[in-house]
Subunit: 185 residues, 2 copies
Amino acid sequence: MAKQQEGTVDKIIKTTQKRMREAGFHGVSFRDIAADVGIKSASVHHHFPTKEDLGVAVTDAYTEQFLEALGDPDDPTRKPDELLKLYVANFRRALVKDKRMCLCGVLASEKSSLPNGVAKSDQAFFEKNIAWLEAVLRRKSPRMSPKNRYAEAVRIIATLEGAMLVASGLGDTATFDLTTATLFK
Amino acid sequence: MAKQQEGTVDKIIKTTQKRMREAGFHGVSFRDIAADVGIKSASVHHHFPTKEDLGVAVTDAYTEQFLEALGDPDDPTRKPDELLKLYVANFRRALVKDKRMCLCGVLASEKSSLPNGVAKSDQAFFEKNIAWLEAVLRRKSPRMSPKNRYAEAVRIIATLEGAMLVASGLGDTATFDLTTATLFK
DNA sequence: CAAGACCTATCTATCATTAGAAAGGCAAAT
DNA sequence: ATTTGCCTTTCTAATGATAGATAGGTCTTG
């Protein structure tokens, strides 16, 4: 049976993302992924020869999907404050709806043990998020210095990642709202 | 040769902590730990029969050591503001000096895949930290409501864990200072 | 028929875990 | 003081399960 399942690659990426957000890079195996998708592990290797390849693909897809949901930070039809609220809502959804940490947060916590390519893709997630936030802040507070803008952008993403982490550690997603309530003021 | 090495258990715990902070629970093996300590993996099992046992011991030891470094939050000879600065410094040291994430932050990010005992010990770390912060805040701002005190305590630890995570993701420890600079005001 | 997707089958390495033996320390019994 | 025996620690050796990865075949589609 060699049906070229239209979405096998997508299924693999989606399943891997889910599992890696639960167990980290080292807590996921080709066999588990294959079983979820309904194929054999050799078939996963056909699409992603090495685990590093798979990790990079999953991380990049996650980043792309995340940024796509945010949209253009310079879109003149949306106010900076709305965009920042959207940003928080995006993280909130990842935690409350998916019941899972941010993939790139999980990977960041085990970064020094990741294959090079995965570590690089993970870093790109943070850099792109910071760039998006800086763009919004440039519109919101044009007089803020670039240095302070960068610091504020980092502070926002750090607070959100931290809120997810602690909510996860406490096993209580309500903690996220408690933490992020005072993010902007 | 059956020399009862005085500190074998301590060495195992220390080595495991170091490795788990780099690679997470699933990224660590009995063999690696044994090799670091200079014994065989069977000997590690003698002290910690299962990986869950080892994980619990390491997490509890980390928590105890962490809280010990903080000291009594109600010590009248130390001002609340000093204690909060000490708290930040404690996290900073973990990141900058050890060049590693907080152990319990790493474990929190893969919590849903942890053995029950480890997940429980990890949660205890956060609860005890929050209790310590609440105690300090009770002295610093006696008129603050218990609910707000809790929220503020969670916000503090979340910001610190998030700052570590993002600093790790960016591969730049300076990010930690940038993020935590405006923690109190 | 050529290419892509998936398979069976297998490899080697590593995983956590266990059984059983050797070796040394310690203390009661001699 | 020496012997006896237990306790702890560590070892060798092996278990079955699982890891990532590969070779080569089969089927389907274009």
